[in-house]
């Protein structure tokens, strides 16, 4: 078991691009070697030790490497990008593109994250104690296929386009979401305990979305199927009654997306 501890040294002005903060690239390296890995700031590269104090405890192997960031990393982008194993614990907040395209392993954030966490995730777990920005588990701009597998847990709220273009995997949001949750979804599961703004499941053709709170403006392309009770989805027991809808028929005539909406909070539907 290797433990790599990164302690932020100073405030960051221009955001850092630090895809090398990643168990795969840290594995088997000494503190000095890790400290010399290059990170980008604007058009320049700097060694990691310019911004972080690096401490290493223990042996080496990527599957067992744990990276602990002791402090705020909200201006550090792309932490854990493409990681395949190991663990990252951030004792603070994280910047954009946290865990983008991650294939395995775990990331735990005690604070908030900026936009694009776990963009196009393939596997693994991302757990956020606080809130997340836009595009959680979403497809990159212009692309129509987002998260393919893995699990995202957000204890707070998320913003727009949660699970955009999602093909597989699971997203759980304890709080609320804004617009276009599950837009163009073609598989996988999104469970939101709180309310949603609008455009939920727009253009979805498959997969499942559950909204536990109120949907402010319901998408027009869904067909009502009936009321269901005692649902268990993705290992989560859902209390109360849900209205089941199939869609989105706005564009595709063969859509098979499933949208559950809590009965109590959506009486007018």
């Amino acid at each position: 078991m290797t433990e790599v501890i990164l302690i932020p040294k100073r405030n960051v002005d221009i955001k850092l691009e630090a895809d090398i903060i990643n168990p795969d690239s840290f594995a088997g390296k000494s503190a000095e070697e890790i400290g010399n890995l290059p990170i980008w700031q604007g058009p320049r590269t700097y060694p990691l030790c310019e911004f972080f104090e690096v401490k290493v405890n223990g042996g080496s192997s990527e599957a067992e490497t744990i990276i602990r960031i002791k402090g705020d990393a909200s201006r550090v982008k792309r932490i854990g990008e493409g990681m395949s194993a190991g663990k990252i614990e951030i004792e603070g907040s994280a910047g954009m593109h946290l865990g983008t395209g991650m294939k395995g392993g775990e990331i735990f954030v005690s604070g908030d994250t900026d936009s694009w966490p776990a963009m196009e995730m393939i596997g693994g777990l991302l757990h956020i104690k606080g809130n997340a920005g836009d595009h959680v588990g979403c497809a990159y701009r212009g692309k129509w296929h987002g998260m393919k597998g893995g699990r995202i847990v957000i204890e707070g709220s998320a913003r727009h386009q949660v699970g955009g273009g999602m093909d597989g995997g699971e997203i759980f949001v304890e709080g609320n979401v804004e617009g276009f949750c599950g837009i163009r979804q073609t598989g996988g599961l999104i469970i939101v305990k709180g309310r949603a703004l609008r455009g939920v499941g727009a253009e979805m053709t498959a997969g499942t979305i559950v909204i536990g709170g109120k949907i402010e403006r319901f998408s027009p392309g869904f067909e009502y199927m009936g009321i269901e009770e005692g649902l268990t989805l993705g290992g989560v027991e859902l209390k109360g009654k849900f209205k089941k809808f199939i869609g989105d028929y706005a564009i595709s005539t063969r859509a098979k997306g499933v949208l559950y909406v809590a009965v109590d909070t959506n009486t007018e539907l």
Partner: protein
């Protein structure tokens, strides 16, 4: 001295000079191939030991979409095409990004890294000529030029309808000079104009709206004009109904039209020493045959119609084609054929863009992914290879992917290897949908191209077809010192070891342009000057004056003034005019 190099003891493949893998030395001085160098010159020049390696003229791509507004529309609408394919800035290289539609810099480096030194843009809308030239000027390393879209041009259609072929010819010649373009391109003649009204044409004899002219009349008219002006290359045709099941019939009928027209090349150039007669001998150059070769009536009973077309081309001597191969994976379809793109949109639902270019033409762009698991895509893969393997005479074929329509040009190594290795074709056949085997002839094709054939398909014939053989596509004395060296020993070549072939084609040993090493072991090491070629076509002053009076009169329908229409020379990198139809 810059541009002076000697390449010793390589196995040289130079089809225009009928050199088939002989061990030879190649000398280049001041950028041109020479017979030898003096001892003093040898001392100052660069020396390359090519023993055990394959030496060919620099690659020539005669049909690729690399510059201009539709390529740029593709870049703009596809951020997802760029974020994973990036190159970093170095002291020599510009940064760049993009996989199917790379930025201009990346495009130049990627082509050079594969051994290509000359690339011609396949379709330039006249109004977008400035933009196209700006992008060509910014593309590093490559010598370039482009073909002007004239198949749905208001003036061409009107003059041909009125039977005034000389006025149409004067217009074409003036347009070539005005926009600094090289050849005549004809895309879905009469059909793109109808697309302005939400329609298309479905047969060669269907007259279009308002102009009342048929595709047959436009193809006939433009190829007559092309030959009576003595253009360097034949009419470059993208046939009607392209990309639809059953379209091979209309392609075949279209090819019959220029059969009766005699090829004529009237250009003032200095010819490199070439053993073969390199003069133009075809009256039509059909673009991306694969997309023109669908048989069947619907997508359900689709099959390859390449056999039928190849049979026709085998029996005729007036046709040359490029293949438009499909190497599977990501692509971006882009063409002047607006309605064809709309039809792919209705099939796929992908994002798309379409444009009507005022009184001239149209275009469309749509991202596309070719999958081995998809029955139609698998047949398309087989058809692309059939185009090059079922036509017996390699001098009638040119290897392309219609980049980026069938796939990006960076997939050429795969296509080359499929052509050279039956084992690699069998391997791919076993991975893709059974339609590839059941609905084409590819499974039964035993032919494996030699390095000599490959040199014809990728250098000698594209150069000869477009009339650039006077300086490109050969290693004859006086030719440009553009040379590719592959790490292949022809004596030990084993087509069954396709992995090795793929590796060598992906990263050439050396690319030399104008006698300067630009790529060594797949890495770009220098960025020499480049040229842009265009046809300066002349007709009698009187005819031009009369035609211009009419054009100026009609110019009020354009959104810009006549004075701003032309593309000034400063938009071109080292403008290199080719005098056509006499000198002024």
């Amino acid at each position: 001295m810059a541009g002076t190099i000697v390449i010793k003891n390589g196995y040289v493949f130079d089809p225009l000079n009928e050199i088939k893998g002989e061990i030879m030395d190649i000398f280049v001085q001041d950028g041109k191939v020479v017979t030898g160098l003096s001892a003093a010159e040898l001392k100052t020049g660069t020396f390359i030991d090519a023993f055990g390696k394959t030496v060919m003229p620099g690659g020539v791509d005669s049909h690729s979409h690399v510059a201009g507004s539709k390529v740029n529309a593709g870049r703009v609408m596809r951020p997802e095409d760029h974020y994973k394919a990036t190159i970093q800035k170095t002291s020599l290289l510009h940064s760049g990004s993009g996989y199917t539609v790379p930025s201009v810099y990346k495009q130049g480096y990627d082509y050079a890294a594969m051994g290509y030194t000359t690339v011609f843009e396949a379709a330039i809308p006249p109004l977008e000529a400035r933009h196209t030239h700006e992008e060509m000027r910014a593309t590093p390393i490559l010598d370039m030029g482009g073909y002007l879209e004239l198949g749905n041009n208001f003036f061409v259609m009107r003059y041909l309808r009125e039977g005034d072929i000389w006025r149409a010819a004067a217009y074409v010649s003036w347009m070539m000079k005005t926009h600094k373009t090289y050849g005549v391109k004809c895309v879905n003649p009469a059909g793109v104009e109808n697309w302005g009204w939400g329609k298309n044409v479905s047969s060669l004899d269907e007259a279009n709206i308002h102009f009342e002219i048929t595709p047959r009349e436009i193809i006939k008219g433009l190829s007559e004009i092309n030959e009576c002006l003595g253009m360097p290359m034949p009419l470059h045709l993208h046939a009607n109904n392209l990309g639809h099941p059953g379209c091979y019939t209309i392609a075949k009928e279209s090819l019959k039209i220029p059969d009766v027209i005699k090829p004529r090349q009237n250009m003032e150039v200095e010819w490199a020493e070439i053993k073969m007669n390199p003069a133009k001998n075809r009256s039509v150059y059909l673009a991306h045959l694969m997309f023109n070769s669908f048989a069947g009536t619907t997508w359900a009973d689709l099959e390859s119609g390449v056999k039928e077309l190849a049979g026709y081309i085998n029996n005729k001597d007036h046709v040359v084609i490029d293949s438009g191969c499909v190497p599977f994976g990501e692509a971006t379809t882009m063409t002047g054929d607006g309605p064809a793109i709309h039809d792919i949109y209705t099939l796929t639902g992908n994002k798309w863009s379409n444009k009507d270019v005022e009184m001239e033409c149209g275009s469309g762009v749509l991202p596309f992914t070719y999958l081995k698991s998809n029955p139609v895509h698998s047949v398309q893969w087989a058809m692309g290879l059939e185009c090059l393997l079922l036509i017996n005479d390699p001098w009638k074929t040119i290897m392309t992917t219609d980049s980026p329509n069938g796939g990006p040009f960076t997939k050429y190594p795969e296509v080359m290897t499929w052509l050279m290795s039956e084992a690699y074709r069998k391997q791919t056949l076993s991975e893709c949908h059974k339609w590839a085997n059941d609905r084409s002839e590819i499974g039964g094709v035993r032919r494996e191209l030699s390095l000599y054939d490959l040199a014809i398909l990728t250098r000698a014939n594209p150069a000869r077809t477009i009339g650039m053989a006077h300086r490109k596509g050969s290693l004859g004395v006086g030719a440009d010192g553009d040379i590719t060296i592959y790490n292949i020993n022809p004596q030990q070549l084993d087509p069954n070891n396709y992995e090795a072939l793929l590796r060598t084609f992906r990263k050439v040993e050396y690319t030399i342009k104008g006698g300067e090493i630009v790529v060594a072991k797949g890495e770009v090491v220098s960025i020499p000057e480049k040229r842009t070629y265009y046809s300066e076509v002349h007709v009698e002053d009187e005819k031009e004056k009369e035609m211009l009076a009419d054009v100026k009169e009609w110019f009020r329908y354009y959104t810009l003034g006549f004075a701003n229409y032309q593309t000034p020379k400063k938009y071109l990198a080292n403008p290199t005019p080719i005098q056509v139809n006499g000198k002024r």
